[in-house]
Symmetry: C2
Subunit: 432 residues, 2 copies
């Protein structure tokens, strides 16, 4: 074979799992959308500028100067022991009682997702996920050749009856379900939260069908009203593998997340982590440890909550005032995202380039499904832009949707991109 | 299934690839070996205390204070663009001409290894590796269910005739070889370097049999004599995927490595990286970028070379003076490791607990083979302990070997642990 002669001369050499690793057209679009004149309601980036950067800089600088021989050295694959104790304290806020030895520190919760999938999923195994579900998880499941089966949610989160029905059908078909992947609290992308009664029901159903639960909870402490909810893991320590992250409560650029797993699963995760990256950066781990030990992190999270609530309010108000009739949307009580549904006959994916031209960006709903669904939905994020920009973004978006409705009414339906979905529409790290 | 009732209640649930993920007995041993009274000739940790920690602390602190909104935010999955340019400049020192767009920044070169294996290797595919080979790579290959076929090396590195013979045999057997994995320069664990004439020959043979080459080169700039050698990648930009790392030239605790790959392969690697970790920590990436831009890194590498050469000398001198007859070892001209062979009838794995009892640690040779070989070998590292400790460590080790020889001569052979090798003997991050 002549390596120099073809577009991708390596194509016959890749592993089967690489077949799904193709960039989506969405990605190209977002490269254009990253301009200052565009209001991005697409990104999932926390607003880290709200942090006291001077103080954190000083803290990290002193940490390196004082303890550089450790900070700049390899760490254990499981993660710093003191940090794992602190992580257990953080999880207590959601009713979780855990042993630090059952925690693995990871390169963001994304790596925890990857490692859990790696140790559990054989090609063709079924993974259940909400419809819609987190785009980054769908990408990971695709990389391990899982078959994702979606289970619908509503304003109260995952629907227990739908879960039971799906499990029953899969059992009849003789399919092996490895786990249920769920973001129960302030869901990405739908912004909805699993109610407390449903939490118990979901766990009962999973016990009945002997399915593990992978609970992904990056936003749990970012609720706008009252106390944090009890995590699923607080109900069941043996069936639930819990994923947490400091990306939204401290800073995404440190890439510190974790998995809390039953002991024997934890042992496998550490070996998988070691084979994947040896260990996470001690600089990141010890920066988080120092931050939790010396900075008023609870107050900082309160400040984040106030800030994100204000932005959520700006978005909901603007949607209420400006969006044309026929649009509906969720009303999140925490987290970063609103899920918008456009009228019948509109296509958010086909509409995206027009929105960019009108200087507003969102993530089309198709990114959050493994099966090509989602064309009538879009994810709007309010985490990063300031309130006046959010209002301006919604104003532009409303104009685009109105124009699409006019086109539909004139020409009887918007031109669709009818290509079969090729892989997962992963939009890139800042956009998940 | 009752989740609470068994030792590993999850055992029937894991993916097939998790079967090889079992901790080795070596690991338990090293947990004990981590005491101050033990001289560790086992670790592969760079001596980061030699860095100007105050200055680096100040640099990172200012970076966060000045540019925190970027440092603490998500990065691109491919890695910081300026850092990728700097990486190309670093690679120029080894004769590599590369485009920054063909570089992917990874969580240490270990992640690059993982991603390359992920996109290329299906279960049962053959990967060629030196005998012995880097333990962390063997762990990764095992995690993707590759079959590792070892190819012998000698003082001049991988033996071309042996490579050809192996490829010919595999071709006859109809086996698919995905790539040759090699650490050509200051090899881990053998300490040997592939000669320049052999570099050309190895690449010719790989072209003839149409096999990709995965060149892992963390130690290339840490040679003790003369200029750096030309990397394999400098000979062939289409067949060679190159892995580099700042773990040994700057600091392991930042976990910044990279892959340089042909363009279409690079595109797959970025998608695989995104699905694995979203992106690497910007804190680490920008710390390296700032270090390369503002600190005298070339001079620092020179200082490292002088320091490691002194330690290498201390080890070779002590081995020459103290080791009993019948032992042989390699004489590295760079890097971190000496490969020691003990007399017939001794078993370095069985001997390891006795060595620990005598307060000296090494890595038994079995860790560096996928097939259970290596019982007459051990890896000795001189990177971390100071010269007087190295001498003391070798003195203790010589005593242990002498005692083993006496036992063999008295009882006609040392008791061996005859268990079949279970997975790879991964000793942990600080020991690779």
């Amino acid at each position: 074979m002549e390596l120099h002669s073809r577009t991708d001369a390596y194509i016959g050499r890749y592993a089967a799992r690489a077949a799904g690793m193709v960039p989506s057209e969405i990605r190209a679009l977002f490269a254009v959308a990253d301009r200052p004149e565009v209001v991005s309601l697409a990104g999932g980036m926390p607003y880290v500028s709200a942090l006291p950067l001077d103080r954190i800089g000083e803290m990290i600088g002193e940490l390196v100067a004082r303890n550089g021989a450790q900070v700049l050295q390899y760490a254990s694959a499981q993660g710093d022991p003191v940090l794992r104790e602190q992580i257990c304290e953080v999880m207590e806020l959601e009713g979780i009682r855990a042993n630090p030895d059952d925690v693995v520190v990871t390169v963001g919760a994304q790596q925890a997702l990857d490692l859990v999938t790696k140790i559990f999923v054989d090609p063709g195994d079924v993974v259940l996920a909400e419809a819609p579900s987190y785009v980054g998880a769908l990408g990971t499941f695709a990389a391990y050749q899982a078959e994702v089966v979606h289970v619908p949610l509503d304003d109260g989160g995952l629907i227990p009856a739908a879960l039971r029905e799906t499990l029953e059908r899969l059992r009849r078909d003789g399919r092996r379900v490895k786990f249920l992947y769920t973001v129960p609290t302030f869901q990405n992308p739908a912004g909805v939260t699993l109610t407390a009664p449903r939490r118990a029901q979901i766990l009962e159903i999973c016990a009945e069908y002997d399915v593990l639960v992978l609970e992904d909870n990056p936003y749990g402490l970012l609720g706008f009203d009252g106390e944090p909810m009890r995590a699923l893991r607080a109900y069941d320590s043996e069936r639930v593998i819990y994923l947490g992250s400091f990306s939204k409560t401290i800073a995404s650029g440190l890439r510190v997340g974790w998995a809390l797993a039953p002991h024997s699963v934890r042992a496998k995760l550490v070996l998988a982590a070691e084979s994947a990256v040896l260990c996470h950066a001690n600089l990141s781990q010890l920066a988080v440890r120092e931050y939790l030990a010396t900075q008023p992190w609870r107050e900082q999270i309160k400040d984040f909550r106030v800030m994100y609530r204000e932005r959520r309010d700006a978005m909901l108000d603007a949607l209420e005032t400006l969006m044309p009739k026929g649009c509906t949307w969720t009303r999140p009580s925490g987290g970063f995202f609103v899920w918008l549904t456009v009228p019948e006959g509109l296509d958010t994916k086909a509409m995206a380039p027009r929105a960019i031209a009108e200087r507003v960006a969102y993530v089309p709903g198709t990114g959050f499904y493994s099966n090509g669904d989602g064309r009538r939905h879009m994810r709007l994020s309010y985490c990063y832009p300031e309130p006046h920009r959010i209002r301006e973004g919604v104003r532009r978006l409303a104009g685009v949707v109105e124009e699409e409705i006019r086109l539909r009414d004139t020409f009887g339906g918007v031109r669709r991109d009818d290509r079969a979905p090729g892989g997962v529409d992963t939009p890139g790290p800042g956009l998940v």
